[in-house]
Symmetry: C2
Subunit: 215 residues, 2 copies
DNA sequence: TGCACTCAATCAATCGTTTGATTAATTTTG
DNA sequence: CAAAATTAATCAAACGATTGATTGAGTGCA
């Protein structure tokens, strides 16, 4: 039946996403993916044409779900600049667990030196998030809520970069934290609230500081 | 002569570093490296044991000088905790931006979770640097210089993560900053001092804050 | 029968590594 | 000192394994 075919393709994409995320494009083999997915190896080429076609299919599926997710970021006029930013941070940290293996894929692709159509597409989509936060920061500086000499681009790099570091280098962050950051229970119950608290305190100390912050 | 042998090994390491950085560990082949370096393929195994051994040799050469630098800072009794940390940040920013293509490689390999042998060794080497900074932070907390409720592991994640984000996602950070972060002149003359200033101000605001920082 | 799907078997290419022979350099020995 | 013995360095060739991809025979359903 048609639905079964779609389910099977989707299942292959699920497995491929995981394996590509763990091992990279070169490190992942088509045999491994087909074996893990429980399908014949020839199915990958039959469905997706090639290994690269499979990789692109994984990406496009994720990106389309990303785009709809981004649409419900609204601008609440009743909130202060800081409350908006705090809510952004909370929401952002909240989402790191759901897509964390895909996040690794995205960052690895973006770090490749060659400029591809794919990385341009990813950049464009991620910039929506970035610009959302940038707008909040700029507004807050304009209305005097935030430190006027704030380095906005670097502050954004800190928010995204800190999270990326924890997720993308799990070996190191696990050693630092004393727990396996890949353990979902620990992630949900301990690390998530901890990162939220830390990130807001860090950013607030930098942005909303009324003593001498110039040296 | 002995010096020639060292020069040849060094030349191989130079070439290997470039190719590994461009293509990743899996993407780079031993044939490509030996061909580019103008040596017989067997020499790689003769000198470095294996492809992985070659990679680790490249890696250790890169990081060893930074490691001793960090240790010298940490062991300097004449500096305050904050001055030590500030110097670490300065040196770190100074260093990574020069070697940014290799840094990207390291992060790519680390983000692949399953390759046990290689990533474990990289982790082990990088942890020396992490622990050096952790020691400075812990000392500063103990002697009252730093905020007592500092989340040390996450603060470290911020230092490393912010820098990683800037250089690993050059497309995005270039758009944010309004300049191409891959332009070496801009990197050297503008971005580097800017990141140093920002990073120290950010960390200081978080660590050395005497007003209410608990909410 | 016709069509979409599935499979084991196999393809050529490339991978990292090993081998055995050869040359260059060094040390030991008479 | 010179010949001999030993070690180190280098090379072309080939190793077995694995890679992504293809084949052609078969499957079951419409």
């Amino acid at each position: 039946m048609d639905k079964d075919k779609i389910d099977k393709k989707d299942h292959i994409l699920d497995v491929a996403e995981k394996i590509f995320s763990d091992l990279g494009f070169d490190g992942a083999s088509t045999r491994m993916i087909s074996g893990e997915a429980g399908v014949n190896m020839a199915m990958l080429n039959y469905y997706f044409g090639s290994k690269e076609g499979l990789f692109l299919a994984v990406f496009e599926r994720k990106i389309s779900s990303f785009q709809t997710l981004l649409q419900n970021i609204g601008n609440d006029e009743s909130m202060s600049s800081w409350d908006k930013l705090a809510k952004c941070i909370d929401n952002y940290v909240e989402r790191i667990i759901v897509n964390n293996c895909f996040q690794k894929l995205i960052n690895r692709e973006l770090s490749m030196s060659k400029r591809s159509e794919l990385s341009d597409k990813i950049t464009q989509i991620l910039m929506v998030n970035v610009l959302e936060i940038k707008k909040i920061l700029d507004d807050g500086i304009k209305n005097g809520t935030f430190f006027k000499d704030t380095d906005t681009p670097l502050a954004i790099a800190t928010i995204f970069g800190t999270k990326n570091y924890i997720i993308n280098t799990p070996n190191i962050s696990s050693l630092m934290l004393g727990h396996d950051v890949r353990d979902e229970k620990y992630l949900e119950e301990q690390l998530k609230p901890r990162v939220k608290t830390y990130m807001k305190r860090l950013i607030k100390a930098y942005l909303v500081n009324d003593n001498d912050n110039t040296k």
